[in-house]
């Protein structure tokens, strides 16, 4: 693309370098795949001695399916609420100029940069007092902190690209403000809304420490089960659970990436998931 045309040798070296990169990126996942089906895998052996369906049976057992349900429920609720709260805030950021804009932007950036654990330790007593500790509701509420700023920023960026004339035309034709939002704005912003929903879903799906802190170990999501499996050093169980935790996000992100091309700002959220 730039510079003189590379020679055949240089091209070969470049291709080899890229192949090494692909291998390095995929390499850490290999032992997870193998352990998930390994019955015995003694130390110096390069491959498992025997295969087992124990991992598969474990991830289809009732306790894992229960955690799968809880994880899905929490992540769905968090994503819907983050979109609902982020949608009007995005409108303010993208379509209005107002005093104190920089303060609002700082307030929406700070929760992304400051450790969520450091912020939440001091709030835990209040969750206990309000009866929200150890409940799904409490976990959903605390997970709004890492997701809402991100939803507002992302939706703000697409509101900024929205042509206000479409809304004006709907109003001129007699549509009320709510009708205009439902019939014009939401359809126009649908790609951004879908992306924001999926990526806030992912942040919630991957969350461990906030769920442990507020859920107190009673609200059992998949990351909590995975963490205790890793600690128990049952590698087959940990690897099988790991695959269950990793598959939905990877598939979802590949879908999202296809939806929106290579818009980089969306992936600031995934990077934190």
């Amino acid at each position: 693309m730039s510079g003189p045309r590379p020679t055949a040798g240089t091209r070969l070296r470049h291709r080899a370098a890229l192949a090494v990169v692909v291998l390095l990126v995929l390499l850490p996942l290999l032992p997870v795949l193998l352990w998930a089906v390994a019955d015995t895998w003694r130390y110096p052996d390069l491959l498992p001695g025997g295969l087992t369906g124990r991992g598969l049976r474990l991830v289809t057992g009732s306790s894992v399916l229960g955690a799968l349900g809880t994880s899905t429920l929490i992540a769905t609720a968090v994503a819907c609420l983050a979109c609902a709260v982020g949608f009007p805030a995005g409108r303010a950021l993208g379509m209005h100029s107002f005093r104190g804009r920089r303060v609002v932007q700082f307030l929406l950036l700070a929760p992304v940069l400051v450790p969520a654990l450091a912020v939440t330790l001091g709030l835990q007593v209040f969750f206990i007092r309000l009866g929200l500790a150890d409940t799904v509701t409490g976990v959903v509420l605390v997970q709004l902190m890492p997701t809402v700023p991100y939803a507002a920023t992302l939706l703000g960026a697409s509101y900024a690209n929205l042509d206000a004339d479409h809304e004006r035309q709907a109003r001129v034709l007699g549509a009320g403000p709510w009708r205009t939002v439902a019939a014009v704005t939401v359809p126009l912003l649908r790609p951004a809304l879908v992306t924001t929903w999926l990526l806030t879903f992912l942040i919630s799906w991957s969350e461990y420490i906030l769920t442990l802190l507020i859920g107190g170990g009673r609200v059992t999501t998949l990351p909590l089960l995975l963490f205790s499996a890793i600690e128990s050093s049952d590698r087959t169980a940990a690897a099988a659970l790991g695959l269950l935790v990793v598959l939905p996000p990877v598939l979802l992100v590949l879908v999202v990436a296809r939806l929106l091309g290579s818009r980089d700002d969306a992936f600031l959220g995934v990077a934190r998931a």
């Binding site: 730039s2 193998l34 130390y43 307030l107 400051v114 912020v119 290579s262």
Partner: protein, 289 residues
Amino acid sequence: MRRWPEPLRVALLLAPALTVVGVFFVGGVAQAVLQSLGHQPLLGESTWSLDAYRAVLTDPAFVASLLLTMRVALISTGVATVLGVGLALLVRRVGGRARMTALFHGTLAIPHLVGALSIGLLLAPSGLLSRVGQALGLVDDAQSFPVLTQDAFGWGIIAEYVWKETPFIAVVALAALSRGVGELEGVARTLGAGAGQRLRSVTIPLLAPPVAAASVLVFAFTMASYEVPRLLGRPFPAMLPVEAFQRFRDTDLGVRPEAMAIATVLAVLSIVVVLAYLRLVAGLTRRQV
């Protein structure tokens, strides 16, 4: 049709989001600070003092934790940034951009908890790498394999962060490279700039702002994460989030102000580092453009 005044409209639109941030973020930071100074919201008997900070700052465990945290965050961010930018330049040169971007996007989505599991199964004394080393005759047994997980330096933690964050930097850099950088490089070549000069005075300055923003996020994340250092690091010295949570979980409630003091230090530290870094990068890009 009622037309609300502009400031009121903006306030109403922002109200739900600012309520969430105000209650959970501003309230959370304020509570951490207050409770580190001796405030006890449930017991109601607050004895104000700086004892928790004094105890923490003179504790060798905290000092070791602070050093470990800065070391791991700096090395991880530095390596991931350099590798990520290099990777983006390589992909641009060789091609296969769509497929490589899809690969990077896929790894971005891997939860860090699964990343910690993967790196553990790869680098542990009996992990896959050690087995390959044994097969090649490089190590005798699991005991003679270098300790890369639960090690004092934090190599396992760094490996996980570099593995997960390099693709993130690469994705951001690739997106920045596709926005007209090629044409400007062409102009520079026409004006007689060599390959090295083009990289130094055109490509890098154009990449710097988005990549800097991305590496700030990486730095903040590597300082904040709990599960990766908890699983791949040692209980002592532990990284700051682990140290804070350990003290928070202590059965002796008298230790709790220390947990809040560490949380406060962590929050302030991340804000200071991020602001300093942003200023530095802003200065660098201004000088070069």
